[in-house]
């Protein structure tokens, strides 16, 4: 029998998000091979209340490329959550 949660997506987090969530990686269990960014977002906002606050905006980088569209990802993708940047 297949387990309910086959795979874990790892999401890199940085800056204020890393600090608030006290981890540089968030783990998301997924049932399927792939999952959409919208689904990830929904999951994150449900399980990490900090991320559902209005003041924290973010986008995803998939394999070091910002993706604004709702693409599907798998556990082999490098996924990162990018809050507003302030380098320089």
């Amino acid at each position: 029998m297949k387990s309910c949660h086959d795979t874990t997506l790892k999401i890199k987090v940085f800056g204020i998000v890393r600090e608030k969530l006290k981890s540089d990686t968030l783990n998301i269990p997924i049932n399927n091979n792939s999952v959409s960014l919208e689904e990830i977002k929904k999951y994150l906002k449900e399980f990490y209340p900090y991320l559902s606050k209005n003041e924290i905006n973010f986008v995803f980088a998939i394999n070091k490329v910002i993706r604004n569209e709702n693409v599907n990802v798998t556990s082999s993708d490098e996924i990162a959550l990018i809050p507003p940047i302030s380098g320089g």
């Binding site: 940085f14 070091k64 990162a80 809050p83 507003p84 940047i85 302030s86 380098g87 320089g88």
Partner: protein, 140 residues
């Protein structure tokens, strides 16, 4: 030459690397940790980066610059970790035959680093407080 580093940025070394006997102009930008923000005295800044992605983007910026301007050398380095007031956080240097190209390419370089590189900073105040700087959405 582009990189992200934890080490102190050695300006003189970079000026030497930019030197090129066929170039007539060098333009050089350094970003420095200021002793204040809009409200408080600042003691230092902690910089954090998504390093591998920053390197990808710096490479892209370098390529765009080589494509758009006739320049000889391009250097962009961003430092991460804890920096004290007066220390250099970022440096962009360009050498070219003529100054117009060097100014434009250098300015393009630092503008795009600020707009596109996933780097975050947290100010450590003299008061003991610290605060992540409210940034801008990445525009990559």
């Amino acid at each position: 030459m582009i990189s992200i580093t934890k080490d102190i940025i050695d300006q003189l070394k970079i000026l030497e690397q930019l030197k090129d006997n066929s170039s007539g102009a060098v333009v050089f930008f350094t970003g420095i940790v200021r002793d204040h923000n809009s409200k408080e005295k600042v003691e230092g800044i902690f910089y954090e980066a998504y390093e591998e992605m920053v390197e990808e983007i710096l490479k892209k910026i370098e390529k765009e610059i080589s494509g758009n301007w006739n320049i000889k050398k391009f250097i962009a380095i961003h430092r991460i970790g804890y920096l004290k007031v007066g220390e250099i956080s970022v440096i962009v240097g360009v050498s070219s035959e003529h100054r117009k190209e060097a100014f434009e390419a250098c300015s393009y370089g630092i503008d795009n680093i600020k707009k596109r590189c996933p780097i975050w900073k947290k100010e450590e105040m003299e008061s003991g407080d610290s605060e992540w700087v409210q940034g801008v959405m990445i525009n990559e």
